[in-house]
Symmetry: C2
Subunit: 308 residues, 2 copies
């Protein structure tokens, strides 16, 4: 199966951003097309501003628009939209459209909050981790911050996902020019930037190996200023990639706009797992600590109590 | 802190193998020294033969020997021994010796079984995943096959481990010369061998990133024949390595014997986790599927029942 990763800028109006996506979709060779996280709008989580909830107001119309694109192009398309569900309840939602049909959706479950990525203000955490059945296979769609976690990747695998897909919006923070921000400067030397990018790739490549499953991440690119002017903005680092079921690199983008077409064999994972049978040997009797935040605070509190 | 990885051949008698280790320990600059998996003996799991349980008979004496080495050298040493616990109950056990004191032990919990690595015949699976307190810090010692699993790495992290340590014995299967073995040949082309090695490194590097914790793996090297002559033997691939808490490469060995001294900052992980706070955002309310083998068989059996 050919998969197309659309690595694009999303720093214009909704109309302009859609136009960029449509232009790329025309050139896409894949049966499965993946757009970056929240591709209709600039990445608005660079600051906390209630006006940006407006981007979720037209969710149903947005969905209808992309459904039509999927129908016309006869493609399976993974889109990523800001969803208003109830007043005060908004989700960061990926939707899989299968030739004009809504095959399923996934609401981002792990929500970040660090300088320039203030997502906890905007996004209610999703409450389900399930693969989505499509005419092309069972897609394990997760979103951005999820990609740093072995748990959702594993859960998707245990539930039969045949590929992991991460629409994402990740990049380097630009430090404010008006005033010094020591934390920002410390975190954004060229060496630290290289480490971040490599770590981002490494952890997802690890999911491919640990689960015998291909992994695809699709990132946005380009600089976007911070409208609040507290931060210097973010340069999204691109580098969208695909790794195969043994963790072998299949494709990798640069830092500019790109349409990456890549052949991915969804059935190879099954062969890999026959000779690397990691799932067989999982020690489910020993994994209950994974359902806890940490397992050291008890002894800390014992010590504190003893000290009285 | 300087850590020394002793990458050595272990294909001689117990005396010879100990001599190699001692020679390397003399040259070790580290306060913490790590030996490969089951370093006292050839890797006997290449076939299933009850005579090899003899290697576990002198466990207490073996332990005493290494305790003395640790005391004399005033070092923390991670050794890996075949442990007889009860008749019919044998463990693949790593022991941490802290300047002459047994600081703790870890019995391998994930046990492989694939051509040339018939460990399920020899090793009873361990029943605890706990870090070991030492004078140098809290060591998350795991063993070989464990390294492919995100779960034990995560559990060690949640329990406060400051470094993950994997003594290991991994390599490429050599195909029998007497008769064709199509599976063996298919799995051992130069491209497949490269993929295996890279996957092995990638998945562990992923543990470093996902947990903000340094990871060290120490492998044996050299060719060892299969005494049963069913297989051609194993060439252990070396490539012992250390990654830092952001997944940055700190050292990597080649395919020959080596004493690798590497500076590892056990406190850096705490700084990394302040800006990459993955532990904070874990969705423990969604992780119960991790306690199951898989979550698709139910629907399979529903279908089968419906078909009656």
């Amino acid at each position: 199966m050919v998969v197309t990763l659309i690595q694009q800028k999303c720093n214009g109006s909704i109309g302009e951003n859609r136009e960029r996506s449509l232009e790329a979709i025309k050139r896409a060779e894949g049966e499965l097309i993946i757009l970056p996280e929240l591709h209709q709008t600039p990445y608005f989580c660079k600051s906390e501003d209630p006006q940006f909830f407006q981007f979720a107001e037209n969710f149903e119309e947005d969905l209808k628009f992309w459904k039509e694109v999927s129908r016309e192009r006869k493609k399976v398309i993974v889109v990523s939209l800001f969803e208003k569900s109830l007043p005060g309840v908004y989700y960061n939602t990926a939707i899989v459209l299968d030739r004009g049909r809504v095959a399923g959706f996934y609401r981002k479950t792990h929500i970040p909050d660090d300088p320039g990525f203030y997502e906890k203000f905007y996004f209610t955490p999703g409450e389900r981790i399930d693969p989505i059945e499509t005419s092309l296979g069972r897609l394990g769609v997760l979103v951005c911050w999820d990609q740093w976690y072995p748990e959702p990747a594993r859960i998707m695998g245990l539930k039969g996902a045949e590929i992991l897909i991460y629409p994402t919006a990740i990049g380097w923070l630009e430090c404010p020019q008006e005033r010094r921000d020591p934390l920002c400067e410390k975190e954004n030397t060229p060496e630290e930037r290289k480490k971040m990018l490599e770590a981002w790739i490494a952890v997802q490549r690890g999911h491919a190996v640990a689960n015998g499953i291909p992994v695809v991440a699709v990132n946005r690119v380009g600089f976007e200023p911070d409208p609040s002017q507290c931060l210097g903005g973010i340069t999204f680092w691109g580098n969208s990639f695909a790794f195969g079921a043994q963790g072998e690199e299949l494709t990798r983008g640069g830092e500019g706009e790109e349409v990456l077409n890549v052949e991915i064999d969804l059935k190879k994972g099954e062969e890999v797992r026959k000779i690397w049978p990691f799932y067989r040997d999982r020690r489910i009797d020993l994994y209950s600590p994974l359902l806890h935040r940490e397992l050291t605070s008890h002894s800390l509190w014992s010590r504190i109590k003893e000290e009285k």
